[in-house]
Point group: C2
């Protein structure tokens, strides 16, 4: 008992990351890799409540480090919205909005490609979830025109669209949905966990009421961290203050990411703001990579031509190999890791999800060549 | 406009902490300073979703890094409870329990020294807050026997005790309250944000249903991070799973601190587990320091003899100075900072809150001498 505990404690004394330094294609991670500036800030503000040295009662009002400027000026301009706050992440932002605008028993209308946390956040509030189905295999597209019919049928209190979804990297017509939701006057949440910080997104142009971003997924930030932008008219509702403490927002429980993830989000922001301007290069890189992998017998799912770095492939050729090797699906993870590549979920071989966001063309060429070599090795 | 924005962006490129390396007496920070091991882990797992490399569907089940072992074995043993989970912090843990066990309109009975987030979390759920008053100036003690009367009067759904409170560092009779809440069969939350990780605390011995700790306040962790322990019988309620996703806990929205704060919490844990055994030294150090400051004309509020490192002093001698100097209350912050000391809230002089937890006796002697020198300088 005591001996087992000592071993457990020893393991905590030397926590190491196995995938450090590899070419990273892991969809959850490619947009969250820290900039050098953020790495320095991480160490500078590592201790507990370091960001709160000069607290005046509310995290978003701290002027040193310049959190207020970041939240009240830079973020609204970046998201093209009227008010913003910071959150623990996209899921917590979704819950915050749902909990403020809807009551248990109300309905929310979401796309069929929504992240699982959209469902769990709605469950936590007690909402009925209505889904607009996707088009099924192989493109799994969401046609936003289908929202209108379901709005009439279910009178939802909220609308949500995932832009893009994390499974296929599809970008539905968010702007068109903005027109529809305005026509029916229903608040519209755009979940941009995989767009805000990767590509240009304007809440104003899309016509959404809320825009949600994820620091660790797409804003070169340590986890967990998120941003929530909104129209001014929702500020009173979502950022309503405590009746007892007039500086404290109820839905934020006073302050949210009171620590180092916020510092990395801020430190990386200048880079993030700049990198979204180079999104076209990211798209063409993803399209080229996808085409090269299709030559190997992989089949890209989701929209074609693809407009995002999140890629999902059916890989029957890999699956065939996995059925006859000792390591089963893990052979792929092992083979890639030996070549310095990290990406597909360990154990998966029948289909794989990859993101080309963090790797350059030379690295991606090496990945393509590696897949070729692996197929040759087992053929 | 563009120029102002560029300046804002430049400020983000070089975020520095002004209080780095000073003797730290700031009550929010002394228990959250990172261990060297945690500092290394911070860098190792800085990138976004690094802790999720080997996700099997739930953060608390990740085996590499050994999160499962930490949450399912080490933490329950440390908190002396049957089940635990990790949270974004103490406030989020309070909300999670309140939201699971009570309905809007229900009442919660709390101590008059409760943290503001206890009130805000209850407001977020829609609860009525009933307070057991403290004894007032100068000790501000909470007599837990007064809970019984208010239980009979208000039939609360939940009981909460702050142990100790952050204002005075008072340690009420948590064990006695355990007997009372068991007699009336009402779930009892112990908020140990300033005890768990500083001093030995056993949920079992106290007889609470829930125990809450704060990583950044008292467990040598980056912010934000927290722990929540509970009796087994509450697991089904508070950690209930999604109807759609059977690995995802609704109140956690699937996963909570999916990033670097968790890694620092884990990396510091062996040290934290060991340091609570030396709590007696902390108490005698605080008592000595308090007695020395009282010799200078400061008056310690809260319990006497004091049993915690959180100290609150009335400082009329400092206040008199602040009334006649140009910097007003900020003179104290400035004078201390020049001497390499950081602690009292900038601007405050009439009363100051300090924590002796992170400083050794030699450093504290220097602090005492510095206060003497400051008083002499302005006398």
């Amino acid at each position: 008992m005591k001996q087992a505990e000592n071993k457990s404690l020893q393991r905590l004394a030397n926590l190491q990351r196995q995938h450090k330094g590899l070419i990273n294609l892991m969809p959850l991670q490619t947009g969250g890799m820290l900039t050098d500036v953020a790495k320095e800030a991480l160490v500078e503000f590592g201790d507990g409540y370091s960001v709160c040295d000069f607290c005046q009662g509310s995290l978003c009002n701290v002027t040193n480090p310049p959190i207020r400027e970041f939240v009240q000026e830079l973020l609204p301009q970046f998201l093209d919205c009227e008010a913003t706050t910071i959150t623990h992440g996209a899921r917590e932002a979704k819950f915050m909005v749902m909990h403020s605008l809807a009551q248990p028993g109300d309905s929310i209308l979401v796309d069929g490609n929504r992240h699982y946390t959209t469902v769990v956040a709605a469950e936590r509030v007690g909402l009925n979830i209505i889904e607009v189905p996707n088009s099924g295999h192989p493109e799994f597209k969401v046609d936003v025109n289908e929202y209108a019919l379901l709005i009439k049928k279910h009178a939802p209190k909220l609308i949500l669209l995932t832009y893009p979804d994390g499974n296929y990297g599809n970008l539905p017509d968010a702007r068109k949905l903005g027109e529809i939701t305005q026509e029916y006057n229903i608040p519209y949440i755009l979940n941009g966990a995989y767009s805000v910080g990767r590509m240009p997104v304007s809440m104003e142009e899309i016509g959404a009421d809320f825009i949600i971003g994820s620091g660790h997924k797409s804003m070169a930030s340590a986890g967990p961290a998120g941003v929530l932008g909104m129209k001014k008219k929702w500020e009173e509702t979502v950022l309503r203050k405590s009746g007892t403490y007039n500086k404290k927002e109820i839905e934020l429980l006073g302050c949210t990411i009171r620590g180092v993830p916020l510092i990395t989000l801020m430190a990386s922001f200048p880079h993030v703001k700049e990198r979204v301007q180079r999104w076209d290069e990211q798209v063409s890189k993803a399209q080229w990579f996808s085409a090269e992998l299709e030559k190997l017998g992989f089949k890209q799912l989701g929209e074609k031509p693809h407009r995002h770095d999140l890629l999902h492939f059916e890989t029957p050729v890999l699956y065939e190999i996995s059925k006859r090797v000792r390591e089963k699906g893990y052979f792929l993870y092992k083979e890639l890791k030996e070549r310095g590549i990290w990406g597909p979920q360990p154990g998966m071989a029948s289909s794989i999800k990859l993101s080309t966001f963090a790797a350059d063309r030379q690295q991606l060429q090496f990945v393509i060549d590696s897949f070729k070599a692996i197929l040759d090795k087992y053929s």
